[in-house]
């Protein structure tokens, strides 16, 4: 083909340019529209998935509430959940001591401190150490004391350890004088309630 007669083809060239421009504008605009729509759909997918998860979780949550509500409320009533009731603890050990027939006991409560993270598992679990010192007549007084304490003590506690030692060095003779001394450490656990945890 010969060289194009540019002057005679001005209108046709402009037509091509206009067609190209319109085509590009249309393609770019529609491409953006499709991309925006795709982004919107992706967002909706994410929102839908989140809603599905939330709904599934709610059913699971409902199941958890039904399974654990009663036990939780029992622990609240027992004194494990909520503020420390030190008075109740002291009364419990006193009553246990009396019911076993001990001569008396000394107690010391340490300030409440957070429980180790490995035990608390991010819950607001606190622990208070109670040191008991009491004279006993025979070794079996101690398990009897703990048995009596179990029936009276509110909340949850663990016996961390005890030290049973002789008082004096004399040989045994039947008497009603305590010849043994016991030092025990109890740890009382309490869990702050939701309102207490948010206030702190």
């Amino acid at each position: 083909m010969t060289a194009p007669p540019i002057a005679a083809l001005r209108v046709a060239i402009v037509l091509v340019a206009v067609a190209l421009a319109l085509a590009l504008v249309g393609i770019v605009w529609s491409h953006h529209a499709a991309r925006d729509a795709e982004a919107g759909l992706t967002e909706q997918h994410a929102a839908h998935a989140a809603a599905q998860q939330r709904l599934a979780r709610s059913r699971e949550e409902q199941r958890l509430i039904e399974a654990h509500q009663e036990a939780y409320l029992r622990f609240v009533e027992a004194g494990f959940i909520g503020a420390e009731d030190r008075l109740a603890w002291i009364e419990a050990v006193q009553l246990a001591s009396r019911s076993v027939g001990l001569a008396g006991l000394e107690y010391r409560l340490s300030p409440r401190s957070p429980a180790p993270p490995g035990l608390a598992q991010a819950l607001p679990l606190g622990q208070t150490t109670m040191t008991l010192t009491m004279p006993i007549l025979v070794e079996t007084d101690l398990p009897r004391f703990f048995a009596a304490l179990r029936t009276r003590a509110p909340g949850i506690y663990r016996i961390q350890g005890c030290r049973l030692s002789r008082v004096g060095n004399e040989a045994f003779k039947a008497a009603d004088q305590p010849r043994l001394k016991v030092e025990c450490e109890l740890v009382w656990y309490t869990l702050a309630s939701a309102s207490q945890a948010s206030a702190s």
Partner: protein, 501 residues
């Protein structure tokens, strides 16, 4: 190059005929004499169809054909060679052309060309002036003999040497074709139609002699003659020619023409001029006599068509792609809306369930975790009774062992199983200084402790006598038991209850 709608003009010194051609559709627009009125009428017709590509088929006596063999060259060299040779052969003729027909197979393998020219074309100038004034895209000027070649192709002759005797407008055109390619043509014009039939056979014989003399037609070759006359006046020449063994003559009637061209016979009968025009209309023009300056409008036409097609393609592609994206976007939006509705429904259901949750409880996950923690804290506590029973059971068998201190400490969290580290500080009563016996007694105690299922890892923490070579050792000896002498020792062990499976 295939074109779809065009004008084909049949120009003679006396008149010009106009055919409006489309594949499968012919419209004869009429003959226009070479008069002032005819020219004006022709101009009006051309003005109405000025956008159509146009081919002029020329039927004139003033034409010349030469067969030339030239060295095989290509490109610009070929163009220059042909221009030079055409000027040499046809001098200053304006309408000249060359057609490369074949390449020889022997010797130098030259190209064989057919050169053609209109030796006198002044009569054509006014018709061309009309076309130029209207800027008609003229794409060729070709002799009628070449248009007849296309007719011959449709008639499918089997013979290599064919003479087509075509009568049109009282003029007889005799064209010789070798293997279907034009080699020579002449126009026999007659003023009196009654003389033509007799002259036809003579003219054909004369032409045969001329061709043989010019060695265009090989001597002793049999010439196949096709008599083509829509009016039927050439039919009588067949008998005269067939009497000569040099000829093999047959008549091409209207029916054969109609069948070959796909045109109804009645149309051909009414407008016989269309026969050669319809034959060449849809084909490529091999021999173009038009000078370059006359073809300029056609060049513009082709460029313009190409650009319009490009613009249309761009617009079409743009439209398709835009529509595709737009539809895709619409689909995505519809899908997003449907998802949004479903999400709303899910949220409503969640809200309905959440409304039933007790307000005074922690979150359900924490609720379960709290209960589980409480159970963990309350579980696996050391059974003091069992611990003391296990130790007491062993110590009861060793009345000579006086327990001074018994201490135990629970294992650290997470309280997987009840257990405690136990330490016994004791002393052997009635010790007479016999450390060896004391050690045996202590060893027996330790073994007895180890034999208890819930007591493990029994080890002597402190011995009554430290026989370590690195330590200082002091003591006393006595004769007999001395209550003041004591064999104190300390034993450590682990108490571990077996939990129920």
């Amino acid at each position: 190059m295939t074109l779809h709608h065009r004008l084909i003009l049949l120009a003679t010194p006396r008149q010009i005929g106009v055919l409006d051609w489309r594949p499968g559709r012919l419209h004869w627009l009429g003959d226009f004499p070479a008069t002032e009125q005819g020219m004006a009428a022709f101009r009006a017709v051309v003005a109405k169809h000025s956008r159509l590509p146009t081919l002029v088929v020329v039927d004139t006596v003033d034409e010349d054909y030469r067969s030339e063999a030239l060295p095989h060259v290509a490109g610009h060299a070929r163009t220059e060679l042909l221009d030079r040779r055409l000027r040499q052969v046809f001098r200053n003729a304006r309408f000249v052309g060359a057609w490369r027909q074949t390449r020889e197979t022997t010797g130098r393998r030259d190209d064989r060309y057919l050169f053609a020219a209109l030796t006198d074309a002044d009569w054509l100038t006014p018709w061309l002036a009309v076309l130029q004034r209207e800027r008609v895209p003229l794409y060729g000027i070709t002799p009628l003999a070449l248009a007849s070649q296309h007719l011959l192709t449709r008639l499918r002759p089997q013979e290599p040497h064919t003479l087509l005797a075509y009568r049109l407008n009282n003029r007889l055109r005799l064209s010789y074709y070798h293997n279907g390619q034009l080699r020579f043509s002449r126009l026999v014009s007659s003023e009196s139609p009654t003389q033509l039939p007799g002259n036809a056979a003579d003219e054909i014989a004369k032409t045969q002699l001329y061709l043989t003399g010019q060695r265009i037609l090989p001597r002793e070759s049999r010439l196949s003659v096709l008599l083509c006359d829509p009016s039927g006046q050439l039919d009588s020449a067949q008998a005269a020619l067939n009497a000569d063994p040099a000829f093999n003559t047959r008549v091409v009637d209207l029916q054969s023409l109609g069948r070959a061209l796909g045109i109804p016979e009645n149309f051909l009968a009414e407008t016989p001029d269309v026969v050669p025009l319809a034959a060449i209309a849809g084909d490529t023009v091999e021999l173009n006599l038009a000078p370059a300056e006359l073809l300029q409008p056609y060049t513009e036409y082709r460029w313009r068509r190409g650009l319009h097609a490009l613009a249309g393609t761009l617009a079409g592609v743009g439209l398709v792609v835009t529509a595709g994206y737009a539809l895709h976007a619409q689909e995505l939006r519809s899908e997003a809306e449907a998802l949004a509705r479903q999400t709303q429904q899910l949220d409503s259901r969640y809200a309905a369930i959440a409304r039933g949750f007790p307000a005074n409880l922690p979150p359900p996950g924490q609720l379960a975790q709290t209960v589980e923690l409480a159970h963990t804290l309350a579980a696996n506590r050391v059974n003091v009774d069992a611990l003391y029973a296990a130790l007491g059971q062993v110590l009861a068998a060793y009345p000579d062992v006086r327990l001074d201190t018994l201490s135990w400490n629970e294992a650290s969290p997470p309280f997987a199983a009840p257990g405690a580290r136990v330490r016994l500080d004791a002393s052997l009563t009635g010790f007479d200084g016999n450390y060896r016996a004391a050690l045996r007694r202590i060893e027996a105690l330790m073994q007895h402790l180890a034999a208890v299922p819930s007591l493990h890892e029994v080890r002597l923490r402190t011995s009554p006598v430290n026989v370590d070579s690195s330590a200082t050792l002091t003591g006393q000896t006595r004769n007999g038991a001395d209550p003041a002498l004591a064999a104190a020792f300390s034993v450590e062990l682990v108490y571990r209850e077996e939990t129920a499976p």
